[in-house]
Each structure stands twice: as C-alpha cells, then as structure tokens.
Symmetry: C2
Subunit: 138 residues, 2 copies
DNA sequence: GACTGACATGCAACTTTGTTGCAAAAAGTT
DNA sequence: AACTTTTTGCAACAAAGTTGCATGTCAGTC
C-alpha cells in the first residue's frame, strides 16, 4: 500500500507529502467515490481545509482522480483508471449512486453507451449517473 | 404566456404570487437551463435571495422543474415536460453542456439509453450528461 | 368587497463551502 | 548540511445555502 501510494505520486511528479499520502490512501481503501466533506471528516484535525481542497485540485489536474456529477449537486471524486493521463480522462464507466446510503460506486464494467447527438453539437465527453438502491440497501 | 403561467401554478395547487410568476416566466422564455445565480441576476432586486431558493425548492417538489448534474458541480434547473408528476420525474432526455459558453441545453429528442446494470443494484433513474461544443461555439 | 385562515415573503443572523495572499515549514536536490 | 522549490497552515474573505420569525399577500367564504 505504502509503496503503491508513493509510486502513484512519483509517477505524476508530485512530492510525497503527508496529506497527499493520507488522501490517496483514503481513495485506495474506499472503492467508491468520496465527497470533499467525507475526506475532511476522515482526515480529522490532521490537515487544514485548504490543504484538502488543494490536494484534490492537484489530483484532478494530474488525472489521478476524476469528479462525478451528481443529481443533488454535491462534488464527488473517485480514482481514475491507469489509462487516465493529464488533461484527458478516459473515464467512460457508469456511476451508481444509492438513494439510501448515499454511497457512490463506480461500475467499472459498465461503459457509457455512445449515443447519437443532433448535428451541430460536437460531443467530447459522455457521463452517465444511475441512481437507485445498492445491493446492501435494497 | 400569462395564462400559461397561471395554469401551471394552479395545476400544481400553488398560490399565484409575484415571484413564482416571474421565475416561471424566466424558465418559459429561456429554453435552456438556468442556474440559481442566473435567476437572481435576472429578477434583479425584485425578490429576496431566500424567496428564489424557496420557489425553486417548491417547483422541484411539484415536478415543475428538475435539477441537472453538471461536470463543474454548479446547480442547474430546467422545466420539466408535462408528464412529470410530483415525486417522480420522467425526465429521460440527455443534457448537453457547452465547454465554451457554459450553456446547458436539453436534448429533448435524445432519450437516455437503458443500460444493463449488474445484479444486486436496483436502478431507479438514469441521467446522462454530454459535454462538448454547442453549435454556436464550435 | 371585506374578513379570515393558510401560505408566501422578507429580513436578519447564521452555517457551510470554497477562494486568495502570504509567511512558515517541509520536501527534493546538490 | 545548505539551498531552492513546493506545499502547508493561518487568517481573512467571498459565495452559497439555511433557519426562525414577524409581516404581508393569496384564496376562499360570507
């Protein structure tokens, strides 16, 4: 785990610091998505609010994590797959949000279908969010 | 227009007030989606911030408008089609967000494809957002 | 059209969420 | 170990959203 975290940071030319290690660890442990608030709560008093914001920002820019749009407009982040590179994401799987427990799960095996868009529009990215009940809550 | 607005409000058992009429009018005029901020700006000094929040909340509950998830996590609202009823929305069209001008457009003709979800999950609602360049910006 | 109960609004105060500038601290480099 | 660059924490701020309560407005009834 330690080694994996270091590797990810170094691969992205980021210095290895306490907050980055801790936040990355949180993402690796939870196989769902995390809201900013979750991260703040789980790191407790350890890091400043601002640091969490900036760390997430950095991870986003480097393509380590991606953000997920939700219907209630909270901000969610999840780890990217390996083939995400800086700038452009290949994060074409569907996200599932449970209406009961609120957890967000990446359905890594379900790819977003490419749909037909009316002429005139130039689509660049497709995102799909399914809400409902997860296996534990139904 | 006047008559249409009154009808919508009465159909939903809402009293016809100045703010509701004005905000509903804004939605009817713009055929795209509106952010809370847009509405506040366009109504000017006329209504209190709180009133705008509460009016949108009410419209959401009654199924007059629906919220749209965006990639940058701002809150967007758009008018629902007629077959939206209180509680449950049948808002199964795709939303397009332009990366340049930021406008959100409802692609009313493009329906969200029903995809296969792994067993265990109980899907209730599908939402799809496409980002890219709109006709004017490309 | 005036009366009345129910609902909507405005105000104030507050919480939560996100941002910016800058000095101190820690990381990476030689 | 000394130096440079990056990251962090603090403080102050800005924006976004919420809550309680007194006042005002609406819809229905007489």
């Amino acid at each position: 785990m330690e080694a994996q975290i270091d590797e990810i940071l170094k691969k992205n030319q980021l210095s290895v610091t306490g907050s980055r290690k801790r936040i990355l660890e949180l993402f690796l442990m939870s196989n769902g998505a995390l809201a900013h608030g979750d991260i703040e709560k789980k790191t407790g008093e350890k890091f400043d609010r601002v640091t969490v914001y900036r760390t997430l920002q950095t991870f986003l820019e480097k393509g380590i994590i991606h953000s997920i749009p939700t219907s209630d407009n909270s901000v969610l982040y999840a780890l990217c797959k390996d083939d995400c590179t800086e700038g452009h994401h290949h994060d074409n799987h569907v996200h599932f949000i449970c209406n009961k427990c609120g957890k967000t799960i990446c359905l890594a095996d379900v790819t977003v279908p490419e749909i037909k868009i009316p002429g005139g529009f130039l689509p660049q990215d497709y995102q799909m969010v399914v809400t409902g009940l997860c296996a534990e809550c139904r």
